[in-house]
């Protein structure tokens, strides 16, 4: 089943979207400041642990083992959750998941829900779907609140409003909070403490009123049926404990076999994502408990393209992702373009490999090419997903899906020339000749056609009149014995 909702319909290709994003100087400044800060923090706390590499290795091994036995793990999870008083629902795609959640909310008779930051519900477009059914979903994660108030899209997995600075957030709170509930106080400044206090006051009334909460999940433990949410603000914990009904939507790849496996991930995740040694609010719950917390718990297990991804040997590694966003923060492409250019709920390097797999390569054909394959993401990944390798694999899939194209013809011709020293020699002579025509003072300036993008910001050196092989033949040949 192909993933629905992952890509934003009508988004331009990555190069086009990036061109627009690069013009926004304020966006670039915001991104550079934010990613550099978090990058340095991550490096500092990761280097504190002697066994960091061993932890990454363990995490990768646990994820590989879980993927191999995903069917069994999920059935065991269903059994454990059910035994603990929860109800498990299976959703093949976004439509089915949205329908299940909508019906569950309707059954409570409520018309509003509070939400914990969740990638899975972003992916399926749950808020929009609930709105169509007359149900209002209130985002309670501070950054998600900023995105919701701005009628905006998230641009980062962990920090969805990373593209906004303090001043922009102050203006947004002042203008929009009133139409969603408690307005921002008069004379709100852009001091972080003042902004947080405004959000706290605005959200508090929603927490106290809410009867239904919707969350995602960072992990779910198959053998105990325990679901885990990792967050920094405590707003998630409010949602997980105050309402009467809790509905969790979780991608099927989030299951881990045993409670002790969490030990590895709870060390890796906070250090990789926020650069903290320990996560501030880690909530775990197992089904329902009489007289304590939500009395009804529903777990919706979401496929939405994941089984197809699992079937692809070259790409299945991407399912190991724990959504830490370290790869976004170290990515030189993301740092320049921001997340919106990816046109997907999942931006950055991990988005460039996850998105085409979840929705099919034709629907996101430019994303595997949105990388220099510099490898910074692989080095930072706490579960050791070799993102450049998966990108190269997906590029081959895109080429195969596209079939005949001008590029394919050119590549075919280049392959013929490059497989023949004689033709390569002839091409070198032609390049030298062409260079003589185009070059001024040893440099070639702007070029027409497909190379204009290259030559817009770079000179090209004039090809030398003599290639290395010509020089060798003239000066060195015969001086050595051939083996």
């Amino acid at each position: 089943m192909t993933g629905q909702g992952v890509v934003w319909l009508g988004s331009p290709s990555f190069p086009e979207a990036a061109r627009e994003a690069l013009k926004d100087g304020r966006l670039r400044a915001n991104l550079k400041r934010a990613t550099t800060t978090i990058r340095d923090k991550r490096l500092a706390v990761a280097s504190e642990l002697d066994d960091w590499e061993a932890l990454r290795e363990s995490a990768a091994a646990i994820k590989r083992r879980t993927a191999r036995h995903l069917d069994r793990c999920l059935l065991q999870l269903e059994e454990s959750v059910t035994a603990a008083g929860g109800t498990v629902h299976w959703a093949a795609d976004a439509d089915e998941a949205n329908r299940i959640v909508t019906e569950l909310v309707r059954a409570t008779g409520e018309s509003e829900v509070v939400k914990i930051k969740s990638m899975a519900t972003q992916e399926i477009g749950l808020n929009e779907h609930l709105a169509e059914a007359g149900i209002t979903a209130y985002e309670t994660d501070l950054a998600e609140l900023i995105v919701q108030l701005g009628d905006d899209r998230p641009s980062h997995i962990l920090v969805p409003a990373i593209h906004k600075n303090r001043g922009e957030i102050r203006d947004l709170f002042t203008a929009e909070m009133g139409s969603w509930g408690r307005p921002a106080p008069d004379g709100l400044t852009d001091e972080p403490a003042a902004l947080a206090e405004a959000a706290r006051q605005h959200l508090r009334e929603k927490f106290l009123r809410a009867k239904v909460a919707v969350s995602g999940a960072n992990f779910a433990v198959a053998d105990t049926g325990t679901v885990v949410v990792v967050e920094s603000e405590g707003n998630g914990r409010m949602c997980l404990t105050l309402p009467e009904t809790l509905i969790t939507v979780m991608g099927i790849e989030k299951v881990v076999p045993t409670w002790s496996d969490l030990e590895v991930f709870l060390q890796l995740l906070p250090r990789s994502s926020t650069g903290e040694r320990m996560n501030p609010y880690t909530s775990t719950w197992t089904g329902t408990t009489d007289g304590d917390g939500p009395q009804a718990f529903h777990l919706v297990l979401l496929d939405n393209g994941r089984t197809d991804t699992l079937a692809d040997q070259g790409g299945r590694r991407a399912l190991a992702c724990i959504r830490c966003s370290a790869c976004l923060n170290v990515c030189p492409v993301y740092e320049r373009t921001g997340g919106h250019a990816y046109g997907s709920v999942y931006p950055g390097p991990i988005g460039a490999v996850l998105t085409p797999q979840l929705v099919g390569v034709e629907a996101a054909a430019s994303l595997p090419f949105a990388s220099t394959l510099c490898g910074a993401c692989y080095d930072a990944c706490p579960v050791k997903i070799n993102i450049p390798e998966v990108l190269a694999h997906l590029r081959a899939e895109v080429v195969e899906a596209k079939g005949r194209s001008a590029e394919a013809l050119a590549m075919k011709a280049a392959a013929v020339v490059l497989d023949s020293p004689r033709l390569l020699g002839a091409a070198q002579k032609a390049a030298a000749l062409g260079g003589r025509v185009l070059a001024r003072d040893g440099r070639i300036g702007r070029l027409p056609g497909p190379l204009h993008g290259w030559s817009d910001s770079r000179d090209t050196p004039q090809p030398p009149t003599e290639s290395f092989r010509q020089w060798w033949r003239k000066n060195k040949e015969g001086s050595h014995e051939q083996p």
Partner: protein
């Protein structure tokens, strides 16, 4: 030891001086270098752009041409990385069983130039003289691909007369990325601008690296800005001597 130079198609065509420099340094150190003329290209462009089957004949050619040598030296971290990481992949996915065997035997004998000097020949001082202010950019394939680490810097530090200065944010990609620079020219240009600023901030006269492809990209940007900074493959710095002029 029978040593072959794998010049790479790109250096062969655009930067023959780098090949000459490699030969000069190795001969100065008392080694004879051969240049098998049937060599062409490692197939990196085809592999990285998604045209894997087109790269297979190049893998076959590489194995055939270099199979007999004890060491294959290349002045390109990215082409060395392509051979090391991806020739086995292509041989396994698309090649015959005997190609896999040939590739597996050959790959451990393929060295990037600075690796060969420091790990095999165990030299850091190659007798070079280069009285200029130089900064070194560790290309992504040097840094995260081959993990060259300090090797190029050890070689550069031993050069007489050199004023070696640190490049800010050295581990940040320059934005070249092969066909990325064409397909995503704007993003590539933005990354280039930051890298060029870093180079200019050092006051270096020369920027060097282990990959001429990245250097052509950064140098192209510096040249467009009208800066006087030269780009040179580090082999050319190592080849420079008191008598010779570079």
């Amino acid at each position: 030891m029978r040593i072959a130079l794998f010049i790479t198609c790109f250096n062969d065509t655009m930067f023959p001086g780098t090949g000459k420099a490699v030969v000069e340094v190795l001969e100065r150190l008392g080694h004879q270098v051969d240049f098998p003329q049937e060599q062409t290209c490692c197939g990196q462009m085809h592999f990285n752009t998604g045209y894997r089957p087109d790269a297979v004949p190049l893998v076959e050619r590489f194995a055939r041409v270099f199979g007999e040598y004890d060491a294959v030296i290349t002045p390109s971290a990215s082409c060395a990385g392509m051979v090391r990481e991806n020739h086995p992949v292509l041989a396994a996915d698309h090649g015959r069983a005997e190609l896999q065997q040939q590739v597996a035997e050959l790959v451990p004998r393929v060295y990037e130039f600075t690796e060969f000097l420091t790990d095999v020949l165990r030299v850091t001082d190659v007798g070079a003289f280069f009285p200029h202010r130089v900064t070194y950019h560790p290309t992504c394939h040097s840094l995260r691909g081959l993990r060259l680490g300090e090797r190029p810097l050890e070689l550069l530090r031993a050069v007489k007369g050199i004023d070696l200065v640190d490049l800010p944010a050295p581990d940040s990609c320059c934005g070249f990325g092969g066909t990325f620079a064409v397909k995503n020219a704007d993003t590539s240009g933005a990354m280039l601008a930051d890298k060029a600023d870093g180079v200019l901030s050092t006051g270096a006269e020369v920027l060097c690296a282990a990959d001429n492809s990245c250097l052509m990209h950064i140098g192209g940007g510096l040249s467009r800005q009208g800066s006087g900074v030269r780009t040179m493959h580090l082999a050319e710095i190592l080849a420079a001597t008191e008598g010779g002029v570079r």
